[in-house]
């Protein structure tokens, strides 16, 4: 068989073999392989895109969370300040109120004392009067017999009353 003369038999079998291999592999090998490789490529591409997206999303989230935190700090400060103001206000109010109340109580107490005093005085006066009458009565009962003594007492008593 010559080196450079094509041989029909070999040429024929070559075409048959190649065609068979091509048809079998096309259906059962290249289709799933190419499909799987493309799928994988697509997967990787998608994965990378998703990762990129997630990254920007994460950055956004960070910005947002930073904003939320700073807002919260501002709000907290405000709340604290408000609270302090409120507390001071309440304390001041309470103090004023208490002072007023105390004053009121004191006033009423003073009035009561004054009234009680007046009542007591009048009571005492009545008591004194009745006592004096009684005393007088007793003295009278005891010393009525002795004129001299009686006289003397009468005078002294009368002196005393005069003094009043």
């Amino acid at each position: 068989m010559d080196l450079i003369t094509p041989d029909f038999g070999l040429f024929f079998w070559m075409l048959v073999t190649f065609a068979l291999v091509f048809m079998i592999l096309k259906k059962f090998a290249w289709k799933p392989i190419v499909q799987a490789l493309q799928e994988r490529e697509e997967n990787i591409r998608e994965g990378l895109e998703n990762a990129e997206e997630a990254k920007t999303e994460l950055a956004n989230v960070k910005v947002r969370s930073d904003k939320i935190i700073s807002d919260a700090i501002v709000e907290r400060d405000q709340l604290i300040r408000q609270g302090r103001e409120l507390r001071e206000k309440i304390t001041a109010e309470a103090r004023n109120h208490a002072e007023e109340e105390a004053k009121k109580i004191l006033d009423s107490a003073r009035d009561l004392i004054e009234e009680e005093k007046a009542a007591a005085l009048s009571q005492i006066k009545i008591q004194i009067a009745s006592l004096s009458v009684e005393i007088a009565e007793r003295i009278l009962r005891k010393k009525i017999d002795d004129d001299e003594v009686q006289q003397e007492l009468m005078t002294s008593l009368l002196d005393e009353f005069k003094l009043n």
């Binding site: 080196l3 094509p6 070559m14 073999t17 291999v21 096309k26 997967n43």
Partner: protein, 362 residues
Amino acid sequence: MKLYGIKLRICLFALLTAAISMQSVFAAGAGGGDGEFDPGSFIFDHIADAYDWHLFDINGKQYSVPLPVILYTRDKGLNIFLSDKFDHGHAAYRGFRIEHEGPDKGKIVVAIDDHTTDQEAATPLNLSITKNVFGMFFAAAIMIWIFLTIGSRYKRDPKKPPKGVQSLFEPLILFVIDDIVKPAIGEKKYVMFLPYTLTLFFFIWINNMLGLVPIFPMGANVTGNISVTAGLALTSFLAINLSGNKHYWQHIFNTPHVPVFLKLPIPIMPVIELVGIFTKPFVLAIRLFANITAGHIITMGFFCLIFIFAQVSAAFAYGGTVLAVAFGIFITFLEMLVALIQAYVFTLLTSLFIGAAVEDAH
């Protein structure tokens, strides 16, 4: 660790190849003991196709695997028999013999007796399963087995990372897809040409690689045979021209941006372009054939050096053997590279031609 293992395996492969090639040369040298060792005919016997698969010679007796001979003539009809009936070309069988002389040397012709050819009769239609056909069948079987295995795995779990033989072929498949076909044909249309280009690449590559392994049923010089490369070129020709669009054919018969006097009255440009359609695949066929054949010739040549030296003196033969084996191993490594490069070049050029044929008008 894994890379080291692969390197080791490649080294072993090269050593084994070299060692066995040498053995077959020894066998041939010993077989031709009756006369002078003729490296030319020895090498060309190796790279040429044959009706039986020669394994080795022991004491001048040839041991070979007989292959089916399939012949058809109008007179004798279909004849199918094993090639050992020819007794290595020494006998005729059913009126056929292997011609040893003349322009039909090596072909099966109609015989009158064991030693004479019927010059009147036409050469029979010969569809024999020759050494190359058998080697090609083997390569095709291996190819189908490998890729069906891989394919079913991709089908079963496409998202899993590749393993085993799949991880050997996936980089190559991706190389063909991403570095050859996609850039050559273009993002939009490459997918429909993938089955053909992938088959082409691996058919050439696997046949090239198996051609380097000198153990039956490998080692046939399949891609170093002009008939095979012509067949591959024909598939390439069909793929290019059947996929050619309007723009492609317009470019051939009425090339734009070319002065009218080159087209009328003598159609110089259309003729040149039309010839170009045929030269492209023709060059593909010649390139692959020449490269692979050259590789086989060089490898065999180095091993033949041993016997050429041996005819001078024994000491020369020992020195020559060391040198020849060293060079043989080197060339085997080189041929492994060439096997891949030629598969790459054939596929790349075919893809580029297809790319030009399906390109949209711009």
